[in-house]
């Protein structure tokens, strides 16, 4: 007798449980949304939802804590690593995640970024680099590229006047304490999958109580850049990655 064949339907990619059900306010094609999804997936997979405290920045992701079913903490602009330090010192057993943009981490918050890393605070720092200040209407960021036109560099960023863009991973790589430093991107599927792997490492290092971990994620800002999401993804590939090379810089 011939056995019958039955088609079984299995869900292989769904909506992460740790992601709140509400719509996110990010623009179509924004890198924040993609990273939020990856982080929520990892919170599910690593089963850390009840231990997480997410520190939000000031910037487009100021409402990030609305989008995850975890405890959330505000931070003044640039001060997320300091707030995270206070939280982690009180709750060494909890997962303290600082999520920041380029103004928050590399302009006003440079001191807090460097010193939390230097002290080796056992936190996870996620840095979204989209080379612009999105929330306030598209001003120049410390990571905006030379000749990039923004609301406050209308003739293009002039390095002779305002300096070259800053590479956060390489900057932190001068410090002793950080365990893990990697730069990723979410402009295509291959890079997004690698981003998730790096994010997992960043979280695992805190789960095992080992130390400070940092991941920089190159992201699209279609609205800030004045392009379509796909054009934005292409610009990350063609313009950002040559200046901000992807890859692991430190993995102790």
């Amino acid at each position: 007798m011939k056995s019958e064949e039955v088609m079984e339907k299995k869900l292989v990619y769904g909506r992460p449980k740790a992601l709140a059900d509400c719509p996110m306010h990010y623009c179509p094609g924004c890198g924040h949304s993609i990273v939020h999804k990856l982080l929520a997936q990892l919170i599910d997979e690593l089963e850390i939802r009840e231990k997480c405290i997410l520190v939000a920045p000031v910037g487009c992701s100021v409402l990030a804590y609305f989008y995850f079913k975890v405890d959330g903490c505000e931070a003044a602009h640039g001060r997320a690593p300091a707030v995270a330090t206070g939280l982690k010192r009180v709750h060494p057993d909890k997962m303290i995640i600082a999520y920041q943009g380029d103004g928050d981490l590399l302009a006003i918050g440079t001191a807090e970024t460097v010193h939390a890393a230097n002290r080796g605070e056992k936190i996870s720092v996620i840095f979204i680099n989209n080379a612009i200040y999105g929330m306030t209407g598209g001003q120049m960021a410390p990571t905006s590229l030379a000749r990039q036109k923004t609301a406050t560099s209308p003739y293009g960023r002039d390095p002779a006047d305002v300096g070259q863009p800053i590479r956060a991973c390489e900057l932190l790589n001068t410090l002793e304490a950080p365990l893990f430093i990697e730069r990723c991107a979410v402009n295509n599927v291959k890079n997004t999958i690698k981003t998730k792997r790096a994010l997992k490492k960043v979280l695992m290092n805190q789960i095992s109580g080992k130390g400070y971990s940092f991941v920089e994620i190159l992201s699209m800002c279609p609205t800030g850049w004045g392009v379509t999401p796909q054009q934005g993804a292409d610009w990350v590939e063609e313009a950002m990655i040559p200046y901000y090379p992807l890859g692991n810089i430190r993995d102790r």
Partner: protein, 360 residues
């Protein structure tokens, strides 16, 4: 029998914070409060507490934000220019309803100023150096013993009302050594389980935030609740002391170190047959307006003595018109002012001379 110990004001304050259960302290060095971080750097590791010399006063107040959001008693200390840096953080703590103790050991200003003690941050403390409709409870110790006692009180008030409490000292109080009895813990505890960030296990997630973008009136509701809180605090938490005020003809009004000098002046004047007394506000916010008005009705003149340009005069004038007490008519007491700025110490002889001149 509690023993007396000899301690510097700054150190007595630090030890009392520990007695109050503070186990998380963050600060940046600045004169004349450096004894506090140095003391905490030694003591916190002994009791498994956290001491971090932060990268700036801004980082320190934000570490306090995090530790307080986590449900712990947290403190930072600084002096005038560093307190200016903390104003945004104080506003955020206030908007988020987080308890915290912030110590200002005042020095001469404005700007970099000098490292002498002064009282020139009264307006900043009581009128809010930070932005928005918020208040801090402001306590003004006048002795090393009070530096200790008011610290115990500060942590309780902060937790009870979920408010920032500022201990407004000055460089002299911070630096002098006096014998004191270290206070006992108050024995009060406060349950923070309904709001503290501890990981969302078995409950809905908690959010600590001061941002209320929408609906538009959400921020108004938060502000109305804050104002109600401040109204309750104004009713319950005024603190002041009078010294020989009942039969006084002239009332000196001063806080902190200025009040110590005034007390000496009062004693000297009394020996010379001049009936002087002292009214010493201990809570600068809420200010004891009605109580000062009542005291001022009995005297011919008030002499306000401050180590600043006269920042407390506004509250003195408000006091004379205060309407919260039984007799709502204003007091007609005259106000005189004796002040020294730039970290200069008021001279007791000049104060005595000024009061004696009233008799002529």
């Amino acid at each position: 029998m509690a023993e007396k110990v000899l301690m510097k004001g700054n150190e007595a304050l630090a030890e009392s914070a520990i007695i109050a259960g503070c186990r998380h302290y963050f600060a940046y060095p600045i004169t004349p409060q450096n004894e506090i971080p140095a003391y905490m750097a030694r003591r916190m590791p002994q009791i498994d507490g956290t001491f971090i010399q932060a990268e700036s006063e801004i980082a320190a107040i934000n570490m306090v934000f995090g530790a307080s959001a986590a449900g712990a008693r947290a403190m930072t200390s600084s002096s005038s220019p560093g307190i200016s840096l903390k104003q945004e953080g104080i506003s955020y703590l206030s908007g988020a309803g987080l308890p915290a103790v912030v110590v200002n050991i005042m020095r001469g200003g404005p700007g970099l100023g000098n490292i002498s003690g002064s009282q020139a941050d009264y307006s900043q403390a009581t009128r809010g150096g930070g932005h928005g409709d918020y208040r801090m409870i402001v306590l003004a110790p006048s002795s090393v013993q009070e530096m200790a006692n008011l610290t115990i009180k500060a942590f309780d008030l902060a937790d009870e009302y979920r408010i920032v409490v500022m201990i407004l000292g000055d460089g002299f109080l911070g630096q002098i050594s006096e014998p004191l009895t270290l206070p006992n813990p108050s024995g009060r505890s406060f349950n923070k389980a309904s709001w503290a960030l501890t990981g969302a296990a078995g409950r809905e997630p908690h959010l600590v935030m001061s941002l209320r973008l929408s609906p538009e009136e959400a921020l108004e509701k938060v502000n109305l609740a804050l104002q109600e809180k401040y109204r309750v605090i104004t009713e319950r938490e005024k603190r002041f002391e009078t010294y020989l005020g009942d039969d006084a003809d002239y009332l000196l009004v001063g806080f902190g170190t200025a009040a110590r000098i005034c007390k000496g002046a009062v004693n000297s004047l009394r020996r010379q047959g001049v009936k002087a007394g002292l009214f010493r506000p201990i809570s600068l916010w809420p200010f004891p307006h009605e109580e000062l008005k009542a005291a001022s009705r009995r005297v011919k003149k008030l002499l306000v003595v401050e180590m600043n340009s006269g920042q407390m005069l506004e509250d003195i004038r408000l006091a004379l018109y205060a309407s919260g007490d039984a007799d709502s008519s204003p007091s007609s007491a005259e106000i005189d002012f004796y002040g020294k700025m730039g970290g200069t110490v008021p001279q007791i002889e000049e104060i005595i001379e000024r009061v004696i001149s009233y008799e002529k």
